[in-house]
């Protein structure tokens, strides 16, 4: 821990929303709507104020020494593992805190209008506050377990909020799907935590970073030839993929649109889904040590970006298009951090939060206007009917397409340029950078296309809705439009905060880059002309995308669109069905697992253990009973006879003189000494021992002593017989022992 980390009660930031949630859960049901809103907004607002105060006034002073730290109490400490419930704010987590609290606050205001006539009003705000609290814990977590608390907490809240309208089963299923897919990611995250602890002996980020920068242990090969850092990076990335919806764990995000739109805006656009990117940025020191891990992150990110963009082409639901757009933009962010261009990755996260939240809220207000339906085929011509929403959508649309001046342009361009210019991959993986770059460019083109398609289908041309819905299309109330406008401003001007240094030759202009430098290391320096080149290329691509979309969908479905659809019906349907990935997962994983479990249950549990083992034992006892019954012939005389026989046997064995099971024989040369006593104890009743060494029937040594010596004249096989007689009972026992007096010497 850096010595001079100043203590500041950061705990207030996550605590306020939690308190708000607790109050609303316990008492919300009885309060009026206004009271509920004020409590919720006050909670998130208060937390925002504390965050702003901490970030702008307190943090700059201590940014270098590791930022602000606040230890609440020791959470777990056993043996050499000790985890404190502690929060830490440095530039990176501070920035994210700002985003979460600011956008969270806006969305709270927005949902007041959106959820106005929903019966479960208080429950919604309780969950929203709970979510903000968990997200803040995730971001401010000082050690991995605390981050994991937030990590699973947001998973839970997304489960609750997706399944908010629980009375329709599909919503509940979507919620469950989200939670379980997240849980799969958390499984990877857990393994990552264990690996980190094993490699570095600590779980605190600051220590991990200092350990990684200094340590060589992480690069030592740990398993299958790959270094510790690689395995930590890969497993953590599985966790990130689960949370931030990357291939293959992205399937839950499109279904998550089943939740109310503010939820989609806050959770599934701005905050939760970016948790993966934040985590990778937080562990940048470890990732940098393993180019292979970074390659995986970048490639998967880029692949997801393109794949999701393509699916976005054919979606007919407003929010589904935005969902795939989010998946695609997240792919961009991961490509950014994947090419060790952490600053620009976070920068894109920052700009994306604004314009994607804006787009979602526009979707919300349009669906509000269209009385709930999100089908863009029924929309059109809303430019005039909903002017404000149209204005905000326009700004956000241009931002996401990467049109210059707007925020998306700068951040996306920084990533693309970074991909080409990065040197992190060294020589053998050098192909990764350019491939990622090309994929990103295609994805950018795709993004421009599907967003423009969306814009033209919704806002331009005649309204295709039926008369009845057309009749009461109206602009949303100011309480909804207000936050929209703010987000539009953010989307529009947000980019200026992080203008890439290489662009205008003034690195200091990149405010964001500088502030993040302490948290995620220096900004990737991209040579001036590559920056310019890709800026031009991406602008051209954006315009091509928009043009193409216009030719296809300007003012409704135009001829080229119908022709294309007619030409490749199968392909279009395939893309619309999301390449049937869900069905694939169902068939490959979920159903077989269920069948296997059922079979296992029937075979192992019921039959193997219950019938065979338990039943078997019972049957065995029964059979034994039946068999012994056969001896009971019922004839009294036979019982008496058996009794007599038993008595006789007893007498027989009782009167035998006790004799050891084997004779102890010591051979030295040809003389043999034999001891017939039983385990060294003298015989109780003065038995007489007759030793016959030369097997001629006449005992050579007879007496009361239980041991005797005899010298053979020649070596070879001999049999010694000992007869023990009990004088009182006149009974005898005999033992015989074969010995071989080979010249080779002693044989026991």
């Amino acid at each position: 821990m850096n010595a001079s980390e100043t203590l500041f009660n950061l705990r207030l930031i996550p605590l306020l929303p939690f308190l708000g949630a607790a109050v609303l859960i316990l008492f919300g049901r009885r309060w009026k709507r206004e009271a509920v809103l004020t409590v919720a907004a006050a909670a998130i607002g208060g937390s925002a104020l504390v965050a702003f105060d901490a970030f702008f006034t307190r943090l700059p002073a201590v940014a270098e020494e590791g930022g602000l730290r606040d230890v609440v109490w020791t959470w777990m400490s056993t043996g050499n593992l000790s985890v404190d419930l502690a929060f830490r704010m440095d530039a990176l987590s501070g920035l994210l805190c700002l985003i979460i609290t600011f956008i969270g606050f806006l969305i709270h205001l927005y949902s007041a209008g959106y959820m106005e006539h929903d019966p479960d009003y208080p429950r919604f705000f309780a969950y929203l506050n709970l979510f903000c609290g968990s997200m803040l814990v995730l971001v401010l977590g000082d050690s991995m377990p605390v981050m994991f608390v937030g990590w699973e907490g947001v998973g839970l809240c997304s489960y609750l909020l997706i399944g908010f309208w629980y009375h329709e089963t599909p919503n509940a299923d979507a919620g469950k799907k989200a939670f379980i897919t997240n849980r799969i990611g958390d499984f990877g995250f857990l393994i990552g935590i264990f690996l980190t602890f094993q490699a570095t002996g600590t779980l605190r980020f600051s220590e991990i970073t200092s350990f990684a920068t200094a340590g060589s242990v992480l690069t030592a090969p740990a398993w299958l030839g790959m270094s510790n850092a690689f395995w930590i990076g890969t497993f953590l990335f599985i966790g990130a993929a689960g949370k931030s919806a990357q291939i293959p764990l992205y399937v839950w995000l499109p279904d998550a649109m089943a939740g109310p739109t503010p939820v989609s805006a806050l959770i599934h656009a701005a905050t939760m889904v970016t948790a993966g990117v934040y985590m990778v940025a937080r562990m940048h020191a470890v990732y940098v040590l393993s180019p292979a891990a970074l390659a995986i992150v970048a490639l998967v990110g880029a692949a997801t970006a393109l794949f999701a963009a393509v699916i976005g082409f054919a979606q007919n639901d407003f929010k589904k298009v935005l969902a795939y757009s989010t998946v695609s933009q997240l792919g961009f962010m991961f490509a950014g951090v994947g090419t060790a261009n952490f600053a620009s990755g976070v920068f894109h996260l920052y700009t994306h939060a604004f314009f994607k939240a804006g787009l979602f809220l526009c979707a919300g207000s349009i669906m509000h206007a269209m009385s709930g339906s999100g089908d863009i085929r029924k929309m059109g011509g809303l430019r005039k009917l909903t002017p404000w929403t149209h204005g905000v959508f326009l700004v956000c649309w241009l931002a996401i397409c990467g049109v210059p001046v707007f925020s998306g342009f700068f951040s996306k361009d920084a990533i693309v340029a970074g991909a080409f210019a990065t040197g992190i991959f060294g020589d053998d993986l050098s192909w990764v950078g350019p491939t990622v770059g090309v994929l990103l460019l295609l994805a950018a083109l795709g993004t421009a296309f599907y967003m423009s398609r969306l814009y033209f289908l919704v806002f331009s041309g005649p309204t295709r809705a039926d008369a009845q819905t057309q009749h009461h299309i109206h602009e949303s109330p100011p309480s909804m439009v207000g936050p929209l406008v703010v987000l539009a401003v953010g989307a529009g001007l947000g980019g200026l905060v992080g203008v890439p240094g290489g662009l205008f030759g003034h690195p200091e202009w990149n405010l964001l880059g500088h502030t993040l430098e302490t948290a995620v290391g220096p900004e990737l320096d991209v040579p001036h002309n590559t920056e310019l080149l890709f800026m031009a290329v991406s602008t051209v691509l954006a315009l091509i995308g928009i043009g193409l979309a216009y030719t296809f969908y300007g003012g409704g479905y135009r001829a080229p669109a119908q022709k294309f659809a007619a030409a490749f019906p199968g392909f279009v349907q395939l893309v619309r069905d999301k390449f049937r990935v869900d069905e694939l997962y169902g068939a490959v994983i979920i159903r077989p697992l269920r069948k296997f479990a059922l079979a296992l249950f029937r075979v192992v549990d019921r039959v193997l253990i219950d019938q065979i083992l338990v039943g078997g034992v019972a049957a065995l006892v029964d059979v034994l009973g039946r068999v012994s019954r056969a001896f009971q012939a019922g004839d009294a005389q036979r019982y008496m006879a058996a009794f007599a026989i038993g008595a006789a046997a007893l007498v027989f064995f009782a009167t035998r003189p006790t004799v050891p099971s084997t004779l102890k024989v010591e051979v030295s040369g040809t003389t043999v000494s034999v001891d017939a006593s039983r385990a060294g104890r003298a015989s109780p009743r003065g038995l007489t021992y007759a030793f016959d060494f030369d097997d001629d029937g006449r005992p050579e040594v007879v007496g009361l002593k239980s041991d005797a010596r005899y010298t053979y004249d020649q070596a070879g096989e001999h049999t010694i017989r000992v007869t023990v007689t009990d004088p009182r009972w006149h009974t005898q026992s005999k033992i015989k022992r074969k010995i071989d007096l080979s010249a080779a010497g002693e044989r026991k």
Partner: protein
Amino acid sequence: MADVAGTPGGNLGGANVSDLLAPLASGEGVVFLILALGVVAMSVVCMTRRNPVSAVMSLVATFFGLAGLYATLSAHFLAVLQVLVYAGAIMVLFIFVVMIVNREESTLVSLRGIPTRLLGVFAGVYMIRVFAGIAIPAQAPGPLPALSDSFGTVASVGDMLFRQDLFPFEAISLLLLVAIVGGVVVSRSARKESDAVIAADKRIAISHLSSHDSPAELSEVEETSAAAGGHH
């Protein structure tokens, strides 16, 4: 494992057989010999008769022979007792029963399960052989201790019986009482038996119905209805 070769009483075959049988020559020996042979003969006859009456009679004769032997062992009280109780009381009982069940037997020995029973007899013989091995001394025994003249008389045996061994005496009297009750109960006729049992069952049923102690225990069925009314 040691193989078994038990040779009982190896000393019987030895040279000293003659001096073992010497005492028989004296007058007392002759009396013993006659009585012993009589007892053995009569008991063999008893065991082999097909007709139960002759079996009982030969058993009575055996008891008289034994009484004589007791007298030679100067166990006078016991000799009289043997005659009085055994020959008198027990055999009379046997004769009564024989009269009731007097049925000639077709075969002496049933062949069912004969191997086990024969083995039982041989087991008996083996045990006796081992014990005989101890009982028969290697050389002629010394003279028997002199006895006081009151040895074996009613007075001295009675004195010991009622002073030192009072408890066994009381115990055996109790045993006799139980035997009497047992005998009576067992031999009651079957029909009276079943009537008594039925009467007893009736009495128990009546008492159970009248008591109505707790409805719950009456039967399962009612419980579920009781449960439906269970608490909220």
